[in-house]
């Protein structure tokens, strides 16, 4: 079998005295789709943020597509070029138009020409079904539209891995659907590796190859979605699922 595209070995992370990750081990193979769930404060966001080094792990090893993350800036930038991320709060750049948000990375990081970058941007805006908003500013869009722009912005970098950090938690309920729809399409149409922190269990059932349950900084349980939902092995997983389903 292929070498895993993401490999975490005994990863620890502290925030002051708080032990956020307690020796996490995780292997993700190419094209695999993971959904990570768990109570708040369990370390799920921290875990995926360690993969593009928005958080620095303090012990253990994080290897992404053959590059081990260290404090070396070159490696960090190399990994970040391969890894796209979608945030809970979108983190679009409010002073740039939607199109400029999308072309920024390709132009300055990948050194594409303006024309090429715009073509790619329009392609992905069509995929997330808002090409008509290209010349608006993020502040003029609804939350659901902004999150779709954020997804398109990541896709423009042609990443091998996409990280989603609670992409629908900040949205009004009626907008959750449109974002999930885009994500499901993305999962079905591309062979992209996806890691998604979410409580949308419908989404997990539909697209996940594997569902992880985290609690208190550890991966407590992981399984295929059918098995995970119908037959949770751990007491705390069961309690958690009962609460959110």
């Amino acid at each position: 079998m292929d070498q895993p595209i993401i490999s975490l070995e005994d990863v620890h992370k502290w925030f002051g005295a708080f032990h956020a990750l307690k020796g996490v081990n995780l292997q993700v193979s190419r094209g695999e789709r993971l959904v990570i769930c768990g109570p708040s404060g369990s370390g799920k966001s921290t875990l995926i943020r360690c993969i593009n080094r928005l958080e620095e792990h303090e012990q253990g090893r994080v290897i992404v597509d053959g590059v081990e993350l260290t404090s070396d800036l070159k490696r960090i930038e190399a990994v970040r070029r391969e890894v796209g991320m979608v945030f809970q709060q979108f983190n679009l750049f409010p002073h740039l138009t939607v199109l400029e948000n999308l072309t920024l990375g390709p132009r300055w990081v990948l050194r594409r020409s303006a024309g090429e970058a715009e073509e790619t941007a329009m392609h992905y805006l069509k995929r997330v079904r808002i090409p008509e908003q290209a010349h608006k500013y993020p502040g003029q869009l609804s939350g659901g539209q902004q999150q779709r722009v954020a997804i398109a912005r990541s896709l423009c970098m042609a990443p091998k891995i996409m990280l989603f950090d609670e992409p629908t938690s900040a949205l009004d309920p009626e907008m959750v659907g449109e974002v999930l729809e885009v994500m499901i399409e993305l999962a079905n149409d591309t062979g992209m590796t996806m890691l998604c922190v979410t409580h949308e269990m419908g989404f997990a059932r539909q697209v996940a190859d594997r569902v992880l349950f985290m609690d208190a900084g550890q991966i407590l349980e992981q399984n295929g979605p059918a098995e995970f939902f119908s037959n949770p092995r751990h007491e705390r997983t069961r309690a958690f699922l009962e609460r959110i389903l």
Partner: protein, 366 residues
């Protein structure tokens, strides 16, 4: 049409009177204030207008003629305006500083218009500054050489202010970034610099630059006095700009950095494309305040014997033939300062409005 009937009703005399009554005499307190203010205006305005215009002397050719009128002696300004505007610059050559000032102002006005923000503008500045230099110094193209100790008045003020802002601004931005740096040494140097400079008045910096700096320089090595004053002004303003910009930087949410990080933008790309455009937009108001005070603070160079606008006005007052026209002279240069500062202020308002209009939502500007 309802609108026109409304305005017609609004402009009818009785309606006007009603509105006035409502605004000015709606309560005993308001009535009292209205009467008081009306009385004050009556006391102040007519004499001022009389002094400024009606009784003023515009034409006399000597102080004697002026003394006969009870109003302002604008003839004094007419007589001395070249000394005030150009200081001790040789009288017959004063078209040179005039032209230099016009070039400088022209460049500043061009730079304020977004439409002209392209590479050729930088070329324009280069050529313009070269021209200004040649005009002021001379010594080439048949122009006689003029020592910069003889420069003075408005061109000097403009030069000090323009270069002051042009260099202090980038320096201030770098210092602000440095103060937030994760590298302890850079951070320490920036903090030390900002706190030191902010801890002393500009006057003492100017004195230091003129008296102490030469002591530290190796023998036989000297920097021109004007340049030293210019450097002192730049260093001073940069510290304040740095603190203001830091305020703007702090208003940028962490998510902006993370968004930029996740795209793989380098530190300088993030600063240039994401962070500074937003941070500077937030602090345009206070930044412009600093620019305005810098413009006025250039007048402090008098303490080290440089002949700026204020000092040349004083020189004009020293003429024994024309004694006692201080009010006119200071009003005149006051108006010049006001013209420039007010223009800067209006321009910044326009920029702020444009930025707010452009982004649809202004949540990050507020």
């Amino acid at each position: 049409m309802p609108r026109s009937t409304l305005t017609e009703a609004g402009s009818a005399p009785e309606a006007v009177w009603l509105r006035l009554k409502k605004r000015l005499f709606s309560s005993p307190l308001n009535t009292l204030l209205t009467v008081l203010i009306a009385w004050l205006l009556l006391m102040v305005v007519p004499p001022t207008v009389e002094w400024l215009l009606l009784d003023a002397d515009f034409r006399s050719s000597s102080a004697q003629g002026c003394a006969d009128s009870s109003g302002a002696c604008w003839a004094f300004i007419a007589e001395k305006h070249r000394l005030i505007l150009f200081g001790l610059y040789p009288y017959d050559e004063q078209w040179r500083p005039l032209l230099a000032s016009c070039i400088l102002l022209g460049l500043i006005v061009l730079s304020a218009v977004r439409r002209f923000w392209r590479p050729s503008l930088a070329l324009g500045w280069l050529v313009g500054l070269l021209l200004v230099g040649v005009l002021m110094w001379g010594g080439a193209f048949g122009l006689s050489h003029v020592e910069n100790t003889r420069w003075g008045g408005l061109p000097l003020t403009l030069i000090l202010a323009t270069f002051g802002i042009a260099f202090a601004f980038p320096l201030g931005v770098l210092l602000a970034l440095g103060r937030r740096s994760r590298m302890p040494l850079i951070k320490a140097v920036c903090v030390l610099y900002i706190e030191l400079i902010r801890g002393v008045p500009l006057i003492s910096l100017l004195f230091m630059s003129s008296v102490m700096l030469p002591l530290f320089l190796p023998e036989g090595f000297s920097i021109d006095k004007l340049l030293r004053a210019q450097i002192a002004i730049i260093l001073f303003a940069a510290a304040y700009i740095a603190e203001t910009v830091r305020g703007g930087l702090q208003s940028i949410p962490r998510g902006q950095y993370e968004g930029a990080d996740s795209l793989g933008l380098s530190y300088w790309q993030q600063m240039r494309k994401i962070v500074l455009p937003q941070a500077l937009a937030v602090v345009i108001g206070p930044l412009v305040s600093i620019f305005i005070s810098l413009f006025k603070d250039t007048s402090l160079v008098v303490v080290i014997g440089i002949f700026d606008l204020t000092q040349s006005a004083k020189a004009a007052l020293a003429d024994p033939q024309w004694q006692g026209f201080g009010a006119e002279a200071y009003l005149f240069i006051g108006l010049i300062y006001f013209f420039f500062c007010f223009s800067i202020s209006r321009y910044s308002l326009a920029v702020e409005k444009r930025l707010q209009g452009a982004h649809g939502s202004t949540h990050y500007l507020s």
